[in-house]
Amino acid sequence: MPEITYLEGIRLGLQRLMRERPEVVLYGEDVGAFGGAFKVTLGLQEEFGKDRVFDTPISESAILGSAVGMATQGLRPVVELQFVDFGMTAVHHLLNNAATTHYRTGIPVPMTVRAPCGGGFGGGPFHSEELESLFCLMPGLKVVYPAFPSDARGLIYSSVMDPNPVVFLENKYLYRHVKEIVPQSFEPVPLGAARVCRAGRDAVVLTYGAMVHEALRAAEQLASDGGYEVMVVDLRTLKPYDADTVLTAVAATNRVLIAHEGWRTNGFGAELSALVADRAFHLLDAPVRRVAAPDVPVPFAPELENAYRPNADKIATALLELMEY
């Protein structure tokens, strides 16, 4: 069984899709021969030709808008935003065009927007953003955010095959930092299903993206230091999210920590917390806490970015506080 990175997981998923489905096309800035800024699509133009894998002008509106047009005419476009940050120049195409089309007209819009997110490598304020909560606001959109190579591969497959517009978030830090030994062939990973990555009875960390790995590290630490057994739930799909798995986890642990890499105020953690405060209030033995980035632009210098970015230590500290509540 091969060992693949997160990035390779996405590429393998795309490759299989393009082999199986002639209606899948892939485009964006520099995604062709160059393989994209992060090389996720490397080799795909060579295998599938310029007709199916092509470069575009620097025009996020044209990219997202044309994908809506294609998706309503029998193709399954997969477009890449070079960084999720730059998608902010064309948000109306997601919120208003892609996401409302089926509700208004009954026409499905099977398009996928791949968007590299997150920091941890000195990208500074405009190449490190985490904007999932902004996409999660939009009715009609699906939002997916894998944490593992296998999920990256299986979820990109399901995202592209879904008849709805999907924002597929990719964590840049994870691209080459996580590896996994996986079987050559794979089943698609269903959208909307969270996964319990670690069992535990003392508390649960609800998380996704890069913070899944930090939460797992924190849980290990608490297990060896304090003997606490912390459950870790990887949401995987953020919209629509898997409330059942979340509520089951809360029922099993009675203590909830939410961890994400993006900003705290109105981050996606707020939604998870609100869900718990509404539907699992009676199960809680402690406040619902969030470990998230502070409300400041993502700073560049490593000294600042380390202070800014949530990590295993911050999660462990918050967990201990919760335990002691």
Binding site: S59, S61, I63, G65, Q73, L75, T89, T105, K142
Partner: protein, 331 residues
Amino acid sequence: MSKKAAKAEVGAVGKAAWLAIMRSMMLARLAEERLVRLYHQGKIFGGVYTGIGQEAIGAATTAACGEHDLFTPCIRNMTVHLGRGECVLNVFRQYLGRATGPTRGRDGNVHYGNMKNGVYAMISHLGAMLPVLVGGVMARRRRGMDTVGIAYIGDGATSTGDFHEAVNFAAVNDVPVIFLIENNKYAYSTPNSDQFRCKRLADRAAGYGIEGVCADGNDAVGLHLLTRELVAGLRAKPRAMLMECDTLRMRGHGEHDDASYVPRELVEEYAKRDPIRAAWERLMKEGVVPREALDQLERACREEVDRAYHQALNEPPPDPATLLDGVYADA
């Protein structure tokens, strides 16, 4: 083109085609006049936005296209919908927010389409349908259809970033789309002089490396002949182009707006060039369509509008219980 040649060409198009164009224009005019009255009687929920005075553009251009072509109409393009086969009944259903209408009451007034006819339902964000059309045409062509597209867009909307990105994207990819600018001199209350500094918006074509043409937007006959030529050209050699149509918005931005900022002389000038009357007279004069046929057409349109309105009026509104249905398409 000599007068004689033009006349011959008009004849060659044939009576049926001209009658179809006249029909779209008349139906739209009558339907919109009815909607205007209903609005001022307080019988319309939301706004009413008409294309009165601009009917030639949608009617003449859609009639020059084929079955697999694609269109993104704007707020003043009822004749695009009708020209592509939409029934006027659906227009009233849409305005009255009926469960039976094209958006089943989920969207209102001009925000409808019909993919059977190759017509996209617009979103309000100006310019935003342009890249959608470009993508749609690319997709149909990839699937083996000989599709050409027409994107209708106002003078004001040419100032949006989306206009620029879409035209450039289509130009680079040789996507056969006519970006048809309806220059009706105003964007809401804002005149051309506060919107752009070039003499003609067609001048933008050079900056995209594509062709730009200007046309009289109130001359349905000339516009139809020209568009036939352009569409044939685009099919033969796929490429994007700009087309600027001169016209005037003859009412307010919407019916809530008395348009008192538009100089009276301008309105009078264009009133003399009413597209329906102009086409009517020319087709009669050139002997392609007899007066009786036009009179008869007008009567039929009046009846159709009347019937459609009353039918729509009696149809049910959407059931609130359906509010949550269909946000997502089922796998």
